[in-house]
Symmetry: C2
Subunit: 496 residues, 2 copies
Amino acid sequence: MNENERDLNEELEELFISDELGDNADTETEADGLEEEIMISAEEREIDLDALTELIAARKYVDVREMLEPLPPIDIAELFCELDARYRAMLFRILPKEQAADVFVEMDSDLQRALIDGFSDSELSGYLEELYLDDTADIIEEMPAAVVKRIIRNSTPENRVALNRLLKFDSNTAGALMTTEYVRLSPEMTVGEALKHIKRVAIDKETIYTCYVTDKKRHLVGIVTARSLLISDSETPLSEIMEENVIFAKTGDDKEEVALLFDRYGFIALPVVDSETRLVGIVTVDDAIDVMREETEEDFAKMAGITPSDSTYIRSSVFSIFKSRIPWLLLLMVSATFSSTILGRFEALLPAVLLLFVPMLMDTGGNSGGQTSVTVIRALSLGEIEPRDVLTILWKELRVGLLSGAALGAVAFLKVLLVDYLLMQNPEVTLFVALAVALSLALTIVISKIIGACLPLLARRIGFDPAVMASPFITTVVDAASLLLYFVIAAYVFGL
Amino acid sequence: MNENERDLNEELEELFISDELGDNADTETEADGLEEEIMISAEEREIDLDALTELIAARKYVDVREMLEPLPPIDIAELFCELDARYRAMLFRILPKEQAADVFVEMDSDLQRALIDGFSDSELSGYLEELYLDDTADIIEEMPAAVVKRIIRNSTPENRVALNRLLKFDSNTAGALMTTEYVRLSPEMTVGEALKHIKRVAIDKETIYTCYVTDKKRHLVGIVTARSLLISDSETPLSEIMEENVIFAKTGDDKEEVALLFDRYGFIALPVVDSETRLVGIVTVDDAIDVMREETEEDFAKMAGITPSDSTYIRSSVFSIFKSRIPWLLLLMVSATFSSTILGRFEALLPAVLLLFVPMLMDTGGNSGGQTSVTVIRALSLGEIEPRDVLTILWKELRVGLLSGAALGAVAFLKVLLVDYLLMQNPEVTLFVALAVALSLALTIVISKIIGACLPLLARRIGFDPAVMASPFITTVVDAASLLLYFVIAAYVFGL
């Protein structure tokens, strides 16, 4: 502890002229108090921003470290966002280098860039050493060319090579998601040798809990878990304890499918191989979880007719929200005028009373179509169904549609007769009207389910994102269809 | 290998009378062939069901084991679903006990129950020994009382106690999600002792990669990762290397919030403590991922007006799909008749041409409201916003609404004038009509955004699920509102 403190003071002295360092008094009391309050529950993780700002302004660096030491990186990263810009660089330098690096990874790219611009080259390369390569690669992808050049220039030669390889992959593939910092072992090693090797290299590996056994040509021949290493005795050769049935991803695989593998099999890491099944990297579960969340939120956005964005709702500006929503509203508004056209065609010809049921028909059709499309879209993105299952799905939805149509049609028929006809005594409402409405409703539901099932499958078939085909778009199509249907049926019922 | 085979034969002899066992010929070739084809890519994981069935029918048990040995449990579980019911029990007995148990966990409860009914008590307790306690608890929750009694009766006394504790927790809490099979260490231990202890107990612990350091009274005082154990030298006492700032969950915490912690902090395991912060269990990342997926799919379903169900789309019967969708369709259809009533009120008073724009108005309002509600609902369930942020959100949506309303209103105004008035030469379409439509559209969008923001927040506030308030329901409310607005504005514009 005091050891650290002395280093800390020296380190900080270089950065700022300060006379307030090393007031160890409250440090030790802190240390003594530890047992009582080591737990961090959600509430306790919230830090008083003003108190922190004051400490920084007053250059009480040791206290600042004490205050932030127990916090997880992402929580500190959020503090940075809220912190007055003037103090950010200063706070970053106060943090121990390793913690600083972890925090840096969690920041959004604007903040990262601002900090990088403030770094000296030596600082930059210092922090880069602490980062995992896949994180560095992710950061680079968000940076302008000039910054990227600086980062590459300040990386160690071998990292530079690895980075260049990582950056070559399409950002939607396993290749871009993976890290090259895994533990590689050879089948001839004994458990004891393996453990020694791990002890030596562990420090800059992203995970050591699954180790990868490869032959001379780097072909993946098996995996060994830290668990099996810990429970086997040290003379056993790895070839005896390694698991040879390895599920792996290829560098070109879609990252969403890779994430699904984690969900399905409960991995904590997955090996990634190149076209010659040579091991080139691993994907870890935390990155897989990020992919799952991003993909889910993207689907939610698209289904609601919103252009997905990375930034959170609270942080995004009114105008950026406007931009992400207006294109779809516009498109859907224009397409909705089809319905108006249809309405215009028939309006004059038919009893005005029929128009009363248009909203109900359109809404029900839209809802019924939406139910199917969302179900199909989810089943598609969970890999549960494929476009080739189209017949199975249509047959299923057809039957569901007939059931629902019959049920709702009957209810509508009775409702119109009992409420509008008998109760409201509305003279215009006749048996014919009730019949026309009920029939149209039933058919609308069947058709909306068919449309709701076909559009997403079609989208996927033509390499389009099914989620985009969801509720809003389908509503528009179904509206037009249901109106057309309604008026044709009505015309028939009224013998026009 | 041959060792195993002999055990296998004896074991199987007890189960069936068979003369075909142990034809080692193809076994060895298999073994030799391993290096070439150890990798399992998605395609290779697909097994020929008929071939499997034949092998079982022909009692080629060794071949069956060879065939299934490389498959992950969940893939085998799916084979069971497709397999002819007659062969299921047989196939299950053919599998090595440990693999059988892993497969059992992945089956759906009907299948599990059918198998359990076929087990002898000794078989049952044999398999139960192989299961992790949290899995057993999950299985039990799906079983009828009689089966539960059998399971409890056939568990070891200590498991019985642990099970009873796990089963007491509400199924939506961390308590129900956790397992009690974790590695517990004491701060006085040295790294060497810890590793020895782990080696001894690892076999029935769900994870050994994060170990939990507790005091005499089982209070959690820190965690030690397998990584830090492997890189520290064996004399170091745990108290020196343990991480004392532990993020934990309480047994009563909502499992969805627990899953969010994994997402946020990238844990592979999280300790769960009781009201006196005594360590009672851990949640592992694979279970957290399951929760995330379930919660997401539930939200998708609710947003589409579908009652969520556990079973997959392909597996669920037409009638169960019908049942899960009809209540919402019915509710929404009935509520949609509000719009009809409003329409009925004004229809007679206003120029018929106004009705042409009703579908466009209703759809746009619904879409715009849906955009907001889905955004708010997601932000709520990701813990990004709280009902108390209502003013921030309303202020944001109001401005977005005004921007969108102005933009779309202008477009609609021009469209009506240029297309319907000039191009189509529709005599009924006047400047007044264009004005009424544009104004109503603009206001409809503003209002729909307000409604879309308020309903989910209100729902959460009154302890209701926000997701249920999404698109379909909001569409109905917005439709009524927009119609009312339209006609009032129209009446005003036309000076009625």
